[in-house]
């Protein structure tokens, strides 16, 4: 087990190096850089920078260096934990990202718990009450849940709340708490607002997981050991919960590997629509404004989160299923 985990851990830095090259190439790729668009914005308002200031800024951000030197400098700083300076905000990126990163993680965690808490009981009910009206209802909700893009769901819910009740359901905090430091009251305020984004982000995953759970359990329920258990007079509850449910959940663990990363990055679009203060909207803004070091830092965080998500699922799977750790070790 330990050896298996170590093997996976060794892979992380290798993946991160490859990703960092890709990310740097990506944020570097658009023609021009932040400075040229900054100068263009200034020019449109009538003011301009003199050549010396431009040269100084270029030098300060290393924009006058060849690309590979820029990359190496960036990597060096990253390894030291320095995420660089945002060109647009003129603030350290770490400071900009810090608060929002926590919200990204909290939101993903809530959506994840929501998914599992909803999907497994519904899946069990659906499988044990096959072809009943509720089962059909669940199937219909599942199909639509997968089909609705999550930003669309957010739009519909926001529109509904606004036009019916005059409520604005955007944001994660009330106005009073937006800038306030963390406190218990702020936490409670967060809980009051987080449920809607949680449902929006988690719905598609819940729908898919419910389907998988239902199908897995149906496979198990058709096996002879169920018949023999029933023949021996086990209660239906015991009959279903004791072995079939446990066996049906097992394959679900492997879905964590893609589901966690999907939650981290999937919240990006919803966050933009619902004005949630996580790293998603920040990435979007930095990409549009060519704030390359900020965009690069956020992209690296997303990559890191994706890797961690996969790692967690690998470890869980190996822990649950001895065949995997035996085979790989």
């Amino acid at each position: 087990m330990l050896r298996y985990i170590l093997q996976r851990l060794i892979l992380i830095p290798i993946l991160l190096i490859i990703f960092s090259i890709m990310v740097f190439a990506l944020v570097q790729a658009p023609p021009g850089d932040f400075l040229t668009s900054y100068i263009a914005t200034l020019a449109s308002t009538g003011s301009s920078l003199n050549q010396e200031t431009i040269a100084m800024l270029e030098h300060q951000f290393g924009l006058d260096q060849p690309v590979h030197i820029q990359y190496l400098r960036w990597m060096q700083n990253l390894l030291r934990g320095d995420l660089g300076l945002s060109l647009e905000y003129q603030l350290p990126n770490a400071e900009l990202i810090n608060d929002r990163l926590g919200l990204t993680l909290i939101l993903a965690l809530f959506a994840f718990v929501f998914t599992w808490v909803m999907a497994i009981p519904i899946g069990i009910y659906s499988a044990t009450h096959r072809n009943t009206i509720l089962d059909y209802l669940v199937t219909v909700v599942n199909y639509t849940g997968v089909a609705i893009p999550n930003f669309m769901l957010a739009l519909i819910l926001m529109w509904f709340a606004y036009s019916q009740f005059g409520l604005s359901v955007t944001g994660l905090f009330s106005r009073d708490f937006e800038q306030a430091p963390w406190s218990i009251a702020k936490g409670i305020d967060l809980l009051k607002h987080i449920w809607l984004p949680m449902i929006v982000i988690g719905l598609a995953g819940t729908a898919r997981l419910t389907r998988v759970m239902r199908a897995n359990l149906l496979d198990e329920l058709n096996k002879p050991y169920i018949v023999s258990g029933r023949a021996r007079g086990l209660s239906e509850w015991q009959l279903v919960m004791k072995y079939p449910v446990r066996l049906a959940i097992n394959p679900l663990v492997s879905t964590i590997g893609w589901y966690l990363p999907e939650l981290f990055s999937g919240s990006l679009i919803v966050a933009t629509v619902m004005n949630l203060q996580n790293i998603g909207p920040l990435l979007l803004r930095s990409l549009i404004n060519q704030d390359m070091y900020l965009a690069g830092a956020i992209l690296m965080i997303y990559c890191f989160l994706a890797i961690i998500g996969t790692l967690i699922s690998d470890i869980l799977l190996a822990w649950l299923d001895p065949r995997i750790r035996m085979e790989k070790a």
Partner: protein
């Protein structure tokens, strides 16, 4: 063999369609229940059985598929969307780019089919009034004033697939050819947006772009997946190793942020066509990995099959073995998987364009149209701006149902 039959007897409803579809594998119930019948007609097969035993694999798939009502309905919906893709002009009632600030936010005009007991379709006319305080135009539909509409009337001419020209349009206002700026000569079946552009006509063209992006990127994914997955599975060795690591690498990328960064990197000066192709390629870059994995798995197991050995001994070339002997065994599976991949591409394109990083105006796609619906106040004023989103949901649902239906039909062992 017994293993695969036994669960079926425990679960008769799941096994029933299979027994009908393929009696060669699953003998009909009555044969088991009443063996005497077999003695009465020892070797004579009924016409029905004869039909099944000589049916090709594709016919069997089709027979199983058409039993799935939802999938068949979805196929009809997709066929309709396909017609829109090929001739959007036929459905459009006016130029999708035509802006008219005076006609902003006109509400949906619902079609009434009967007029005084006769079949004479009409829509209520729109009446505009300026709010004296805000000076904003307020539109209402007036049931008393009727704008009659006609079907298959003639209007501007367009080219059908570049083969011939036509000027027939599905629906238009009855007086469409008379006065151009007269409101009575125009109909807005789905209302207008902020710039007074007709939603209905825009939707027709958006359908063309969005569906084509989905289709093309899936086709590119399939080609890549077949090629790389096939190479990986057929040849094995170091090349297999490299391709597998590549797939793992691509699959562990956080998709949406990377897609955003990729589309943001597309130069702003590119023409809509260039952006269109760039986006299809971007979507396909990761799309092929799932199929590549599956194809590799199939090749790995097929390589050991006797019929491949037979073909090899018969002197067939490697290319011939792959194309003629191996690929046909899982074509139906590929079709099902790629059908299920199309909605993913469509949703991604819509999301990217919605954020302003995918297709950009003047190109029209579902996502570009939904950009108009970003502001919640605007949405409360003009909820019909959400209609492109409903079409997205319908299209995605239809693709999913058809894909599921195909997958079940293609797999004789499915429940």
């Amino acid at each position: 063999m017994m293993d695969s039959i036994e669960p079926k007897t425990l679960q008769p409803e799941g096994a029933a369609p299979l027994e009908k579809a393929d009696p060669a594998i699953y003998p009909p119930d009555e044969a088991v229940a009443a063996p005497t019948e077999i003695f009465e007609e020892p070797l004579v097969t009924t016409q029905e059985e004869e039909r099944i035993s000589i049916a090709s694999n594709w016919t069997l798939v089709w027979w199983r598929f058409r039993k799935n009502v939802l999938a068949v309905i979805s196929t009809v919906i997709l066929l309709f969307l396909a017609i829109v893709v090929f001739i959007p002009d036929f459905f459009a009632t006016m130029d999708p780019e035509e802006t008219n600030a005076r006609l902003a936010f006109i509400p949906v005009q619902r079609i009434h089919w009967l007029d005084e007991g006769q079949l004479k379709p009409w829509v209520p006319s729109v009446v505009g009034k300026r709010d004296p305080v805000t000076l904003a135009m307020k539109w209402t539909t007036d049931e008393a004033q009727k704008t009659y509409i006609r079907f298959f009337g003639t209007s501007w001419s367009y080219s059908v697939l570049g083969i011939f020209d036509s000027n027939i349009h599905l629906v238009s206002a009855a007086k469409a050819d008379q006065a151009d700026d007269d409101l009575a000569a125009q109909i807005f079946l789905l209302g207008t947006d902020r710039l007074g552009r007709d939603q209905w006509s825009r939707l027709a063209f958006a359908t063309q772009i969005s569906m084509t992006i989905g289709m093309i990127s899936v086709i590119v994914s399939v080609v890549l997946g077949l090629l790389l997955g096939g190479i990986s599975g057929y040849f094995g060795g170091w090349i297999d190793n490299i391709i597998q690591r590549l797939i793992e690498l691509l699959q562990s990328l956080p998709t949406i942020p990377i897609w955003l960064a990729l589309t943001a990197a597309l130069p702003r000066t590119w023409s809509p066509e260039k952006v269109f192709f760039a986006i299809t390629i971007i979507l396909a870059l990761r799309g092929w990995t799932t199929l590549g994995r599956e194809v590799r798995g199939r090749f790995l197991s097929l390589r050991e099959e006797d019929f491949v050995l037979a073909a090899e001994l018969g002197g067939a070339s490697q290319a011939r073995i792959i194309v003629k002997h191996m690929i046909p065994t899982f074509t139906s599976h590929i079709i099902a998987t790629s059908t299920l991949a199309i909605p993913v591409m469509i949703v991604t394109e819509t999301s990217l364009s919605f954020l302003g990083l995918g297709m950009r105006p003047p190109a029209i796609s579902w996502g570009v149209m939904l950009q108009e619906a970003q502001n919640i106040q605007t949405l409360a004023l003009a909820p019909w701006l959400l209609t492109p989103g409903l079409i997205v949901i319908v299209a995605v649902l239809a693709f999913n149902l058809v894909g599921d239906g195909l997958r079940d039909a293609a797999d004789p062992y499915s429940h």
